[in-house]
Structures are given as structure tokens and as C-alpha cells.
């Protein structure tokens, strides 16, 4: 495993300790930081996040991290966004008015529809364990963050918004929420995102983090 520490971006809104502990459990060294220079030099970056999109982007911006993270991404550094951290990888979000994201993966963050295609009323937020379904035709050139997962391994979701990708090749796995397909794992080159919380998804989540650490 790569010895370089994982840089865990602290912008005041993540469940940082849980993410750090899970990465450490997988054998990584982890540095929590909001220091732009440390982040700029990251060999592996995790962008956690819990909360609302516009607040998240505001907090990144306030710390001067928006352009820094874009620079890191441009160097083909492995990046993993978790939950809000994943959503912020996209172009924009409709949460509390349209807000720009980091623009690293093309698409928009939209509310989970209140009613599924089959007419079922969704409880929102979407909270709970749900099986991941790997995308059948996803681009095999993408890093395999889902290696070793069985079909229907459960992971823990908790969110009210979901991503709508522009290019379905970026969709690595979904979950079925009462007939609505919710993107669970997305990826573009080595920029990856999980809508669920791998650090809270037991052994399956730890396996995903392990895969990320091997990229």
C-alpha cells in the first residue's frame, strides 16, 4: 500500500473522525487538514461531508480550497468524495437555490423525487441500508473501486439529494429506492464519489475504502 498519507479535507462539515478511523483501520496514514498547501501536495485526497451543498461550497471557498482541489484533480490524484463531498464534485446543485460545485464530474445535484416512477411515496431523507447494484456497462477503464463486492452488498445511505450525471459512463453503481435509481458510486478517471457512507457501511464500506487506497 502507498505510504503517502491520505489527506482528509477539513472544511468544518464532515464526520472527520469516523472517516479517519475507517481509513486507519484499512492501514492508511491520515492527515486531517484545511491547509491549502498540504492539500495541494496530496497524493490521495478524501473529501468527506455532511450537510447542505451551499454551506459546503461556502466553507471550501472560505478556506481557499476550491481551486486547490481542482488543481489536485488535474494531476490525476485519486480523490474520493463521500456523500456531500461526492455531490460537490459535480457542476452544480439545486439545494437551496442553484449553487456551483467543483465541476470535476459533469452533472447536477437534484432532490430525490418525492414519488417514484411506480407511484410509491418516498420517505425523505433516504435513510438506511440499501444494496449496491453495479452498473452493467460502466467504463471498464475506470478504477475498480468495487472490486471484491458481491452483487447486493448493502451500504448505508443518508441523504435528501442525489446526483444526475450528464454522462452515464460515470455511473459505477446504483441503488434502487422504491423504483428510483439513485447513483451510489460515480467516477471519472481517478475521481470517485460515494453517495453512501463507506466509513459507516461495515465490512463492505471498509472494502471500498481499501480499494480506494490501492488506486
Amino acid at each position: 500500500m502507498n505510504e503517502a498519507p491520505v489527506i482528509l479535507v477539513d472544511y468544518g462539515m464532515g464526520n472527520l473522525l469516523s472517516v479517519q478511523r475507517a481509513l486507519e483501520y484499512c492501514g492508511a496514514k491520515v492527515i486531517q487538514t484545511s491547509d491549502p498547501e498540504l492539500i495541494r501536495g496530496a497524493k490521495r485526497l478524501v473529501l468527506p461531508g455532511v450537510g447542505a451543498f451551499h454551506n459546503g461550497m461556502k466553507e471550501l471557498d472560505r478556506r481557499g480550497l476550491v481551486s486547490v482541489i481542482k488543481d489536485v484533480a488535474a494531476k490525476d490524484t485519486p480523490i474520493l468524495g463521500i456523500c456531500l463531498g461526492m455531490q460537490m464534485l459535480l457542476d452544480e446543485s439545486e439545494e437551496f437555490g442553484l449553487t456551483n460545485g467543483l465541476g470535476l464530474i459533469s452533472g447536477r445535484v437534484v432532490p430525490i423525487p418525492a414519488i417514484s416512477p411506480s407511484g410509491e411515496l418516498h420517505k425523505i431523507p433516504h435513510v438506511g441500508w440499501s444494496p449496491l447494484i453495479k452498473s452493467a456497462g460502466h467504463n471498464v477503464a475506470l478504477p475498480n473501486i468495487l472490486q471484491g463486492l458481491d452483487e447486493e452488498d448493502y451500504v448505508y445511505f443518508i441523504h435528501s439529494y442525489m446526483v444526475a450525471l450528464r454522462d452515464q459512463a460515470h455511473l459505477l453503481a446504483t441503488t434502487n429506492y422504491g423504483g428510483t435509481q439513485i447513483p451510489g458510486v460515480i467516477g471519472c478517471k481517478r475521481i470517485l464519489g460515494c453517495q453512501f457512507h463507506p466509513e459507516k457501511s461495515g465490512k463492505t464500506g471498509l472494502r471500498i475504502l481499501n480499494n480506494f487506497l490501492k488506486l
Binding site: 464526520n15 472527520l16 473522525l17 469516523s18 478511523r21 475507517a22 483501520y25 455532511v50 450537510g51 447542505a52 454551506n55 410509491e120 411515496l121 420517505k123 425523505i124 431523507p125 435513510v127 438506511g128 441500508w129 440499501s130 444494496p131 447486493e152 452488498d153 448493502y154 448505508y156 443518508i158 441523504h159 435528501s160 422504491g178 457512507h197 466509513e199 459507516k200 457501511s201 461495515g202 465490512k203 464500506g205 471498509l206
Partner: protein, 254 residues
Amino acid sequence: MHTVRLIPRLDIKGPNLIKGIHLEGLRIIGSPKDHALAYYQQGADELIYMDSVASLYGRNSLDEIIRDTVESIFIPITVGGGIRSVDDVTRMLRCGADKVAINTAGVANPGLLREVAERFGSQCLVVSIEAKEVAPRKWEVYTENGRQRSGLDVVEWAKQVADLGAGEILLTSIDREGTRRGFDVPLLRAVTDAVSLPVIASGGMGKHVDLLHAVNDGGITAVAMADMLHYKRTSVKDIRAFALASDIRVRKYE
């Protein structure tokens, strides 16, 4: 379709895991960490920690216990008891909690619930409602871990907290808590009919079949369990097996 979440509830007093009856008469069970780890390994979907005397003393002593927990337990953790401010929430999240459960401070100041939901997101806010039946099919909200009447009607309060931005409701029947007599199903039904939020049933699970009633008749999507597990009358694994055999959709584990 939701999977029904199986959630061990750990009531804490000082350094100890405790268990009471009607939230009173607390008895020491043992080490919170050992029990939590066992439940995680048995396949618990989440854990709830409640500081049982925090409201009384206006403080919460769970920090260290939560920090210890997240070293080796990788499932969602809700922490409640004595959370009175946005700063308290920040502190608990920093310790590794994923959600906070608020009762007393939210009844005293509903604005706090809105503030927490706006600052941290609804998914972070579990409103804990302690309910006591005061007339047939009528329940009153209690605070201070079941010690204090509030005058609020449970169903009306549930609707109000949904509007204030709660992400989930932890609904504890004081009448059933620790009695092993099963959940107060009419209470569960009254609340799940009134709000669209996920409701966690708490208080009274004594047999596996109680789960079936809570889900099928109570309309809930999660259960909190304590007595049954703490006294080792069953395990999370056995409850999951029962659920699967009863066509209740739960997470596949192992």
C-alpha cells in the same frame, strides 16, 4: 422500499451501560464498548447511545465513549441525552457521532431543532420523543428522560418537529420501556400515520414477534432494542434471521 433497521440502544450512566424499567430503576449492565462491539459484530445496522442522566445535570459525558467506539465500529451512531445547543451537536459529531437525538432542549426551545437541521442537515437530527399514555389513545410528551411532563400531545409534536426539519423520530414508549411487553403499537401507528419521517420504535421489545407487529401494524422502519440484547436473551443475528423468515426486509448480512 426501506430495509428495516435493527438498532441496539445503549443507555449510559457515567462509564456504564445501564438498563431501567420505564426509564427508571437503572441497573448496571457492563461496559458500553464491549456490548457495542458485540452488537456490531452480530450485524447491528446502527447504534444509539443515550446519556440517561445528562438532562438532569445539564451535561453529557459520552464524548470518550463515542471516540472509543468509532475506532473499531463502522456503522452509524446516534447520540442523545443532554444536547442543548449547536455547540453540543458540533462536539458530538466531532467525536464520531453521525446523528444527535434531542428531546428536552427541543421541547424547551423548538428553534434549536430548526437551527440544528439547517446547520447540519435534517439527516443529522433525530428528535427523541418520550411518550406516556395519558388517556386512551392519547399520549403526552415527557422530557428529562421520562421524568417531566411537557403538556404537549405526541402526535401534534411529531408533526411540528417534522416541520422544524427533523430527519427521524425516535419514539420511546415510557409505559413499555424495559417491560418486555412489546411495543405500544397504537402509539407507533398514530405517529407513522401523522408524519412521513422514518420512525424508530423504542421501548418494550421482549420477543422476536414484537418486531413483526411494530413493522406490519405500527408502520415503523426501524427498531431500537436494549433489554433483549443486554440480557443476552437473543442476538442481533437471531433477530435478523427471524425478520428474514417473516418476510421483513432487512439488510443482508454475512
